[in-house]
Symmetry: C2
Subunit: 414 residues, 2 copies
Amino acid sequence: MCELQVKGKNAKQASYQLMNISTQIKNDALKRIAENIVLYASDIIDKNKIDIQNSINKGIGQQMIDRLMLNEERIKAIAEGVRQIADLEDPVGEVLSMKKRPNGLLIGQKRVPLGVIGIIYESRPNVTVDAASLCLKSSNAVMLRGSGDAINSNKELVKIMKMSLAEAGINEGAIELVEDTSRETAANFMKLNEYLDVLIPRGGAGLIKTALKNSTVPVIETGTGNCHVYVDETADLEMAYNILINAKTTRTSVCNSCESLLVHKNIKDKFLAEAVAKLREKNVEVRGCEETVKICSDVIPATEDDYGREFLDLIISVKVVDSIDEAINHINKYGTGHSEAIVTENYTNSQRFLNEVDAAAVYVNASTRFTDGFEFGFGAEIGISTQKMHARGPMGLKELTTSKYIIYGNGQVR
Amino acid sequence: MCELQVKGKNAKQASYQLMNISTQIKNDALKRIAENIVLYASDIIDKNKIDIQNSINKGIGQQMIDRLMLNEERIKAIAEGVRQIADLEDPVGEVLSMKKRPNGLLIGQKRVPLGVIGIIYESRPNVTVDAASLCLKSSNAVMLRGSGDAINSNKELVKIMKMSLAEAGINEGAIELVEDTSRETAANFMKLNEYLDVLIPRGGAGLIKTALKNSTVPVIETGTGNCHVYVDETADLEMAYNILINAKTTRTSVCNSCESLLVHKNIKDKFLAEAVAKLREKNVEVRGCEETVKICSDVIPATEDDYGREFLDLIISVKVVDSIDEAINHINKYGTGHSEAIVTENYTNSQRFLNEVDAAAVYVNASTRFTDGFEFGFGAEIGISTQKMHARGPMGLKELTTSKYIIYGNGQVR
């Protein structure tokens, strides 16, 4: 039997125990995980050094190596994250509604775990602990398939987490790491319907696309964000500058940052030159439509392709639009359904934007950067869903559950 | 451009209008659909006769032809179903929660349509109208891909529905029929991610399996039900007989009917002989385990395969189990996660069954036959979801929606 089968079976078995485990035991396990990863930090760092050396030998770039790197400080931050998850409310077991039917049947809908969650992710080893902790708190077993670059770090982290599970009396199958990091095993992992209830890819657009295309396990699509800020003709321009600069420049590598600016034609002369100047102050490269180039002649002309891109960098595309209709259509055409903002003082336009833009989060007069589990008040999240099935927007603990109907009868037949 | 592209585009375009359409207009369209299909019943029946003749020529069996057949009475029943959908509460637009964050952002979660729903289904033409009406009421555009056997009936029904949409002022792209019923087009339909937000297969296990395996559009799995009735040692035996006979024999072809009986060993002598006799009175073929055969020597020995089968027929598998644990494990191993029932007077066992059986609907002392949108009080449904993602159990109008976060700010940046 191959690794996926063995570990799939272990995880499935553990998931039955997790279905009915108390919050106390889960929190105990989480607290032990937090303690143990700090206690064994030097072991983790030793293994992490092997991963880093291997990556250097393979000629992997400095930015990637930085993502891979664990030190005491980062390990403490990971442990703190686990403690925060322990402090979150347990979503499992809540009865969302319960009603008596005319025939006397009492029908309730109860929140229950999904079962076994598969996570496929790229090199950051902190995801190993974050994802496992969120799954554990929501009573799901997890199968982790990280990248080969982090395999030694991941094995050590999972070893410590399994030890912590055992200390708390939880079946160790609750957290399984797929150690074979070949592409072939990744492909099989995406088809492990026998054991996986859902697959969540965490990483770049390439990984997510591959999972969507190849997985027969239901996938939750997360993370690609081609987010727009639309400055309407009635916008408060100071507010618009603030929101634009915040959404574009505070953290370019994240999915909720702004990639494209739309400006109503009636304010282009008042707004655009200064907006471009402010963006440049922050070293943002501006790629604009013809109208933009007319106003700021040194702006690089934008290609069709630029409007569809998630730059994740200090680059922004700019387009002047004739109306809010054009803005909405442009966003619905080029956007990825993540986060979209309008800056306006016009009531009707604010409502139209909220209603007609098809995205997980739509903002009036605020930065797109708020689309985040903590900012929304849910606590830690497993990702931002940009699909419409199951969950949309920040996926906290509740989004890692499903429901079942529980029916109390006294002999009813139909 | 091929049919799928043209109609996909039409449906997508219509879906934007549907996002913000009033309940009044939707109900008006539904009422017109109900009126018009009765008004044009003779046209529908004429086209249906062509389908039936073609099917007879192809040598299709009588049962299938009966499913395909439309007459005035059936058309009136379809129209009545549409009126009932018009009477259901509109799920769209409800704000599920809205909270003020410490920074003053007001964040709400609002129920919105999914967008464009693809339905792939087999020969019953009533599905054409049922599915389109449910999608319309939930503000979704729909692309229907029915079987070639019903194509003339479906074309006529969709023509009438499009006319009704136009009368109500709704974009006709809201209901599109894929007229090319080739396998190749079905395969492409399952990969129409550009336009479809979700795919719901309605039909036999083969169709659902094909969709799950081949679709890149997110699929909602519906309908396969290998449902069990477990008679615990403390069961009220009269109640157990009633529930068993009801669950097995009232309608064998539906997914919520019972396919397998589990009996606690301590009551096998008291219960089994009479249970088998009562099943046989209803012409049910019994396939039992060794213990069952010991008690009723003329019972056909069950194979391993029998326990995993959805007979959809007057056949039942029977197994004597040593304990409730064995019953739960058996159900979790062989069941399809649809509907499962325990008959018991023991409190702890009732709770264990509800908690530990992993299915969409779990019953204590009632027939599995209640898993149904009307019986649950939701009204018409598009199917019974047996998966855990997005929706589980009867899928009414709410389950045909998703949500979006709407955020009201006054200049907040992060």
